[in-house]
């Protein structure tokens, strides 16, 4: 705007001329609504004022993680620097032209605003910045995630009592979601963040959705592939909390053996179904009535019978017979027979020996602050990143077909 307009070009009509500099603040008597000192040209409306107030509560610190979809910063309260939070700034990607604010962000915001539970990550607030970016103020979880603990076989050892403590917290979180009619649909160890006091917090609700009514189809292309239950591989569009319970069962097994239970390589759906058949048994009309009616039902030709109990026990003996009994019931093929989150909590595993470890006795250091930063930037449905490739591991595709 430095050069004067050319003489032969008519000046733009007033209505089109865009203000490039803000108007000086109004000198009229403004109603007393406690105006913050904002740089808005006019009196800000109430929502803007509140948003402004919220943003000003925090002092952003260093960046903890950066992903394709979001950046995560450490931050603290202006009023009390000892109170830490994590601020997840959602990046505006190319897809915004097609969709506006992404489904994931909307889902995360919507569900986290409604859920208040000690084992679910707290969304303290949301605010927007000058350039209209969404900022989620989340709980600060500096101890990293459960995946790092599991994978650090050299540095970290944990006991059956520790496993029980972690699983108990995970199941409580899952049960709470289901009781509120929400399916998480992305339960896996790197979405289980660790708090400073040792407790586990379920995070990343980017793939969550409210449970459906009958006849209302949902997408089957959800949940990170290694933790996905067989009914979704068979393209069931009507499912329930059992899908989350399967994922929890996979986490349980992984905690015990310290390796992913259904680690298909290459990560195709066919390979996953094959693995499930091998490790649990082939789904048949006999052990899962009606499975043949599911559209995507296909299994390898060789029928593997259901794995007998003693083989489960041989592989997972660390949690004892009671623990193995629970594991089997969580990894039952027929989702109707699979335990619900509530039934899992009613299983005798939790009240039998050993007692779940106390929080302060649980192993720590699953990676630290930067792991949290990394985890929070992850898009739902992605497999954990190893040192190397990234793009090829994205298992989730955006489905435009059937309803999600």
């Amino acid at each position: 705007m430095a050069t004067p307009p050319a003489l032969d070009v008519p000046p733009e009509p007033p209505s089109k001329r865009r203000k490039t500099s803000p108007d000086p603040p109004s000198r009229n008597d403004t109603p007393d609504v406690g105006l913050p000192s904002s740089s808005f040209p006019a009196v800000a409306d109430l929502a803007e004022q509140l948003d402004d107030q919220e943003r000003k509560k925090y002092v952003k610190g260093k960046k903890l993680g950066s992903g394709q979809y979001a950046d995560v910063f450490s931050a603290h309260l202006v009023s009390d620097p000892s109170k830490l939070v994590a601020i997840k700034k959602i990046k505006v990607g190319p897809e915004v032209k097609e969709f506006g604010i992404s489904y994931d962000s909307l889902r995360e915001i919507r569900f986290l605003q409604e859920l208040d539970h000690p084992n679910i990550i707290k969304l303290h607030a949301v605010f927007s910045t000058k350039n209209q970016n969404l900022n989620l103020v989340l709980e600060h979880l500096p101890q990293g995630d459960l995946l790092k603990l599991i994978q650090d076989t050299g540095g970290i050892t944990y006991t059956a009592a520790d496993i029980k403590a972690w699983m108990l917290m995970l199941m409580r979180a899952t049960h709470f979601c289901h009781a509120n009619g929400i399916l998480h649909r992305d339960i896996k160890p790197n979405n289980l963040l660790l708090a400073a006091d040792g407790s586990v917090k379920l995070a990343d609700f980017g793939l969550a959705r409210a449970m459906a009514d009958p006849f209302q189809p949902m997408t089957y292309n959800t949940i990170t592939i290694w933790y996905r239950p067989p009914e979704l591989f068979f393209q069931a569009q009507h499912y329930g909390g059992a899908v989350d319970v399967w994922s929890c069962g996979c986490v349980f097994a992984e905690l015990i053996s310290r390796e992913v239970l259904f680690r298909a390589w290459p990560e195709t759906e066919i390979n996953m179904v094959k693995l499930i058949c091998e490790k649990v048994g082939t789904p048949t009309e006999e052990n899962w009535p009606g499975v043949g009616k599911l559209r995507g039902y296909v299994t390898p030709a060789e029928i593997v019978p259901l794995k007998p109990r003693d083989q489960w026990f041989a592989a997972f003996r660390a949690v004892g017979e009671v623990g193995v009994d629970l594991l089997i019931k969580m990894l039952t093929l027929d989702p109707r027979e699979r335990l619900t989150a509530e039934s899992v909590l009613k299983h005798e595993y939790w009240t039998s020996d050993p007692r779940p470890s106390k929080l302060r006795d649980l192993p720590r250091k699953g990676g630290g602050e930067n792991t949290m930063g990394q985890d929070l930037t992850q898009r739902g449905g992605e497999l954990p990143q190893t040192n190397g490739g990234r793009g090829d591991r994205v298992a989730r595709k955006i489905d435009f077909g059937a309803g999600k």
């Binding site: 509140l50 509560k57 400073a196 449970m211 459906a212 069931a236 009507h238 499975v291 009613k346």
Partner: protein
């Protein structure tokens, strides 16, 4: 008769009748050490010196009466000989015979003086008394500073008592504390007793283990010697019988090495078994860490509640097994839905929860109340007008 060999007339474990705390054996040792010291240092301060040994009451002296024993009463710390104590106080409490004292004394409170300096004796008694009441430990305190503050306060009280400053006030403080924390005092005292017992048990165990180790080492040495001997004999025999010297020598060495290794392997296995057994029987491993806090087992913990104290209740309805409504019936029949795990009954439950969610919530009243609170409560002010800030506790989990 030597002064130093005193007949041990006192009972082996001294119990202070007031607090019931077992006194350590240290007093005895310290006592005799101090005796020795006082003889060797050559000073000749006559007051309360063992060499004087004259009873102030009856004036009988040691040289006349070799088995003379002096007792003191913690009431006034005046010493007198045993026979005087007997004579004066056997018939009940009486006044102290020392000129100028006159305090009422009781026979059972008389005891032997542990320290040369009567002032020290008095101080130690006071400290014991204070210590019996103010027996908190470091782990009871949040921070080291708090613990040190506590110790400081206790020392203040002690100082006052010893030097007779502000006696009334101090005593009142003392009693108030004793009354208020009677239970904890008792608990801590119990813990101390237990610790001492387990400490001595652990010491015994350690000594025993050390002894065993020594034995084992000795045995090993002997065996090795024997083996070497045998080997040498064997070699000689072989040489004598005409075998090649070099090979024999080499073989001999090899055998010896093998024997040693076998022995070591056997010993190792034995050790492992022992360790496993130890772990199994709950004993501590090879060595006891001195100075480790022994954690008293807390009261039996509450049974694990898998639901974490949370109970979701249906207060306006009871879920039935089945509903005739066609919507439910149709859904049940649809295999595509049921085989996928869709739970129709759960849907019915959700619907009914939704039907009554908020039936008993009176918005107008509750909002008015909420707004009123928000205005009056400045601290929480912004939190109430929040954008969903559910928890003022940002950093730590509940």
């Amino acid at each position: 008769m030597s002064r130093f060999t005193q007949p041990k007339a006192a009972p082996v474990s001294k119990r202070d009748p007031r607090t019931g705390v077992v006194q350590s054996q240290d007093g005895e040792l310290l006592h005799s050490h101090m005796r020795l010291m006082s003889l060797h240092d050559g000073k000749s301060i006559p007051t309360d010196n063992a060499t004087l040994d004259v009873c102030p009451v009856c004036k009988s002296a040691r040289y006349m009466n070799p088995s003379l024993r002096f007792l003191v009463n913690p009431e006034c710390y005046h010493k007198m000989c045993e026979s005087c104590v007997d004579r004066i106080f056997s018939h009940g409490p009486a006044a102290c015979p020392i000129k100028g004292c006159g305090r009422t004394l009781r026979k059972h409170r008389f005891r032997e003086q542990t320290f040369e300096d009567i002032k020290v004796e008095r101080e130690v008694d006071i400290r014991k008394k204070v210590g019996a009441t103010f027996n908190r430990r470091e782990e009871d305190f949040e921070t080291l500073l708090a613990y040190n503050d506590y110790l400081n306060d206790v020392e203040d009280i002690t100082f006052n008592l010893i030097n007779g400053i502000d006696l009334e006030d101090t005593n009142r403080k003392f009693e108030a504390y004793a009354r208020a924390h009677g239970k904890e005092i008792e608990e801590n005292a119990q813990m101390a007793v237990q610790e001492r017992q387990s400490f001595s048990a652990a010491q015994k165990l350690e000594r025993q283990q050390a002894r065993e180790r020594r034995e084992a080492a000795r045995r090993e040495e002997e065996e090795e010697k024997r083996e070497v001997e045998e080997n040498r004999r064997d070699v000689l025999n072989r040489l004598a019988s005409g075998a090649d010297a070099e090979t024999v020598a080499k073989e001999g060495q090899r055998v010896q090495l093998k024997k040693r290794m076998d022995r070591q392997a056997a010993a190792e296995r034995q050790r492992q078994l022992q360790a496993a057994e130890d772990a199994h029987s709950g004993r501590t491993s090879k060595f006891v860490i001195k100075g480790l806090k022994t954690k008293q087992k807390p009261e039996p913990e509450a049974p694990v509640d898998p639901f974490g104290g949370l109970r979701l209740v249906d207060s306006y309805f009871t879920l039935q097994d089945d509903y005739v409504w066609e919507g439910i019936q149709e859904a049940r029949k649809d295999v595509k839905q049921t085989a996928g795990g869709y739970d129709v009954r759960d849907y019915a439950h959700r619907s009914l929860v939704a039907a009554f969610s908020g039936l008993g919530v009176f918005v107008a009243d509750e909002v008015t109340e909420r707004d009123k609170l928000a205005q009056s409560d400045e601290a929480v002010g912004t939190a109430r007008a929040d954008v969903g800030l559910k928890d003022a506790d940002l950093m730590t989990a509940p």
